[in-house]
């Protein structure tokens, strides 16, 4: 484009010269030559300056001279992120470290300190909300039981699914369906399954699960109702978590299995490996990257369990928040207007997830075959 322009210009110069020659016949040769030279010089300068100019542009881009324009392009995204990501993160830190922070207080007048953290960890928030330690242990119990069990089940189911030939697609669909169901709705269904309707001597139904276990009004297990044991509660949540975690895990593991070269199985058969040896010594190591991915994301997700508990036990997460989780704890204190405690709790949660993930990564680096 620019090259062409330059060429056009030099053409124009020549034309110009022709005209001058025509008009001023008596113009002496010396003068003409001078003019010619200077015009040509100009044109040449113009062409030659193109290359350095382009080079300059590139270098100035590297130096950052064009950043004003670049910022303009990403401005909408940056603005949105500032409002919805960066500001909240900064604000979380501020409110966590401002002693006694509440949304409507002026944070500037409060003093900095770790008191929010201390009170959260000690459990003396003085407002009668959820207890952090209990929420922490609940969350750990939910996560570290349900994620491994669910992953193992998903592994066995996908191995079975992979080995059947008829109706494979149909089963695949059935196993994936729960993934598309709303968590709160599933929680409500689970609550119904475990619910005992009626009080004292006038029990109307002990719930489907008790019926399946052969329990009656005399010896039913109180899963979720008033006066139920915390481990019964936790058991229900864990079953729910195992079940709801299956579809995604099966989907991932099934496709990982389908990608395993069939020849490894043939080789193992010739080598006299039993079915279980093939599963544990060949299949599992070969899909271990996917297993580790599922464990890591599963644990990260498990640390954030909340909706399931609300679906099963209502917003009070039991009678007095006794089935509460760490995320439940945050919501609880935000609701109470105790943003300082919520922020401190969320930073603790952040730290815990980070430590667990680092351990995960360290372990998987040693044990996973990539």
């Amino acid at each position: 484009m620019e090259d062409k322009q330059v060429r056009d210009e030099s053409l124009a110069v020549e034309e110009n010269l022709d005209n001058q020659e025509m008009d001023n016949q008596e113009l002496d040769d010396q003068k003409l030559d001078d003019q010619l030279d200077s015009l040509i010089e100009e044109a040449v300068l113009e062409t030659e300056s193109q290359k350095p100019r382009q080079k300059m542009r590139l270098e100035s881009f590297k130096r950052g001279a064009y950043h004003e324009q670049g910022w303009l392009f990403v401005l909408p995204a940056v603005l949105l992120m500032c409002v919805f990501t960066f500001y909240p993160i900064i604000n979380t830190f501020v409110s966590a470290f401002k002693v006694g922070y509440k949304p409507l207080d002026s944070a500037y007048e409060l003093k900095w300190g770790f008191e929010n953290f201390v009170r959260v960890l000690r459990g003396d928030t003085g407002t009668g909300g959820a207890n952090f330690a209990r929420c922490f242990w609940n969350t750990l119990a939910f996560t570290f039981i349900s994620v491994p069990v669910s992953t193992l089940l998903a592994l066995l189911i996908s191995v079975a699914l992979n080995s059947i030939k008829v109706l494979q697609k149909a089963y695949q669909t059935i196993f994936f369906l729960p993934y598309l169901t709303n968590a709160l709705a599933m929680g409500a269904v689970f609550a119904t399954l475990f619910n005992v309707v009626g009080t004292g001597n006038t029990v109307e139904t002990v719930g489907l699960i008790n019926v399946l276990l052969g329990r009656t009004a005399d010896n039913y297990i109180n899963w979720i109702n008033l006066g139920s044991d915390i481990w019964a509660n936790r058991f229900v949540v864990i079953i729910y978590e195992i079940w709801s975690g299956l579809p995604f895990k099966i989907l991932i593991l099934f496709s990982a299995l389908q990608n395993v070269n069939k020849q490894y199985y043939d080789a193992a058969k010739v080598d006299g490996a039993s079915k279980s040896t093939i599963l544990w010594k060949i299949t599992v190591p070969l899909i271990s990257p996917m297993l580790s991915y599922l464990l890591i994301t599963g644990i990260m997700g498990g640390m954030k369990v909340y909706t399931a508990v609300v679906g099963l036990f209502g917003e009070s997460m039991g009678q007095e928040y006794e089935v509460g989780t760490m995320v439940g704890y945050l919501y609880n204190y935000i609701e109470k207007g105790e943003t300082g405690y919520a922020a401190a709790g969320s930073l603790i949660l952040f730290g815990i997830i980070m430590i667990i993930t680092l351990i995960n990564l360290y372990v998987s680096k040693k044990r996973v075959h990539y």
């Binding site: 080598d271 006299g272 040896t277």
Partner: protein, 360 residues
């Protein structure tokens, strides 16, 4: 261990309802003598791997029998057959070290760990990879992986060793070297070995016996030289030898073999249309020779030279004739004349492409 294959047939049902079934192996009957290296040779897709997998027990035959010595193993599970199998792309377990790979069959046999380790080391020494034992397969070259695969197959001291195109993933130089190696290992162990390949040179160079297959059907079995010198049909003649045999359309008339109007030999078979196969080394330069060809160029290889020429009756675009480098050819001749060595000339039926044997 002697292996008898009796009327072995494998039909793969079609995946689609409308499609045709594939007959991968068709009524195969062969005897594999004990302690020999036998090559299964044929073009890609002719059923060599399928035959091998049926021998290993990984594929079930549609019909027919496989007999090891005197035992019918047709329905026996792979691990009970006492075979070692080397896959075309080795199928080494990528998550195990070389040692773990080699030990895997022994661990499955519940051998004590120390004994398993000792035997793995011996197998590794046999294929000369003992210094690689701690590596993972991904840290090995193709040739090394191949040795590991052979060691894994040999470590359980199988009665039969099955190799599926073991050299096809190696570069040309390594291929030459490794095929000698396979021959050496086979000799050293005396294990009956079946070796699958599509490369006739490979098969000819190391096999004691060779089975040539085409579209699932055995064409010929015998010692390599014997098959080369006496091909059963046009396919076998064509498949063996580099450069390949030259084939002409011709006829037999009154005991003379004619290519066009030129009489290139004599026979006592009846008058008929025939395909005439002449090996490249079957040409003798003679200014008064019987067959006239139009010269394209002469390739000088040092040891010998190849005349590349054309002929209107040739079924291939060019004819290759190998002659001694001492023989002086007229410079820039457009045409050359050759006599044909009778033992390098074969007649084939023009329709069935079966060999027509001279009655003499």
């Amino acid at each position: 261990m002697r292996i008898s294959i009796e009327n072995l047939t494998k039909i793969f049902p079609s995946r689609h309802k409308a499609g045709e079934n594939v007959t991968a192996v068709n009524d195969m009957c062969i005897e594999i003598p004990s302690g020999k290296l036998v090559g299964l040779l044929g073009p890609s897709g002719c059923g060599k791997s399928t035959t091998l997998f049926m021998l290993s027990g990984l594929e079930k035959p549609t019909s027919g029998h496989i007999i090891f010595e005197d035992e019918d193993v047709t329905t026996l599970a792979p691990e009970k057959r006492g075979i070692g199998l080397v896959f075309q792309n080795y199928a080494l377990y990528p998550h195990m070290t070389v040692e773990q790979n080699i030990m895997f069959p022994l661990v499955n046999m519940r051998l004590p760990k120390e004994e398993a380790r000792q035997r793995a080391l011996e197998a590794a020494e046999l294929v000369q990879i003992e210094e690689l034992l701690t590596r993972k397969p991904s840290e090995l070259s193709g040739g090394q992986q191949q040795r590991v695969a052979i060691a894994r197959a040999l470590v359980k001291m199988p009665n039969v060793l099955l190799l599926d195109e073991p050299l096809s993933n190696l570069d040309a130089r390594l291929r030459l070297q490794t095929r000698e190696e396979i021959k050496r290992i086979q000799r050293a162990t005396g294990i009956t070995t079946v070796f699958v390949t599509h490369d006739q040179e490979e098969a000819m160079s190391i096999c004691d016996q060779m089975v040539v297959m085409k579209l699932g059907v055995v064409q010929q079995m015998g010692e390599p030289q014997e098959i080369y010198d006496n091909p059963n049909n046009l396919f076998v003649a064509n498949f063996l030898g580099t450069p390949p045999i030259n084939i002409f359309k011709g006829k037999v008339e009154n005991g003379g073999i004619y290519i066009g109007d030129e009489k290139v030999g004599e026979t006592n078979v009846g008058d008929q249309e025939v395909f005439i196969g002449i090996r490249p080394e079957g040409f003798i330069y003679d200014p008064m020779g019987a067959l006239t060809v139009n010269v394209q160029n002469v390739e000088v290889m040092g040891r010998d030279k190849t005349v590349v020429s054309t002929h209107p009756s040739s079924t291939k675009p060019t004819i290759r004739s190998i002659i001694d480098s001492d023989i002086k050819l007229p410079k820039d001749a457009l045409q050359l004349k050759f006599n044909i060595k009778p033992n390098k000339l074969f007649l084939f039926n023009a329709e069935t492409e079966e060999r027509i044997y001279d009655g003499r």
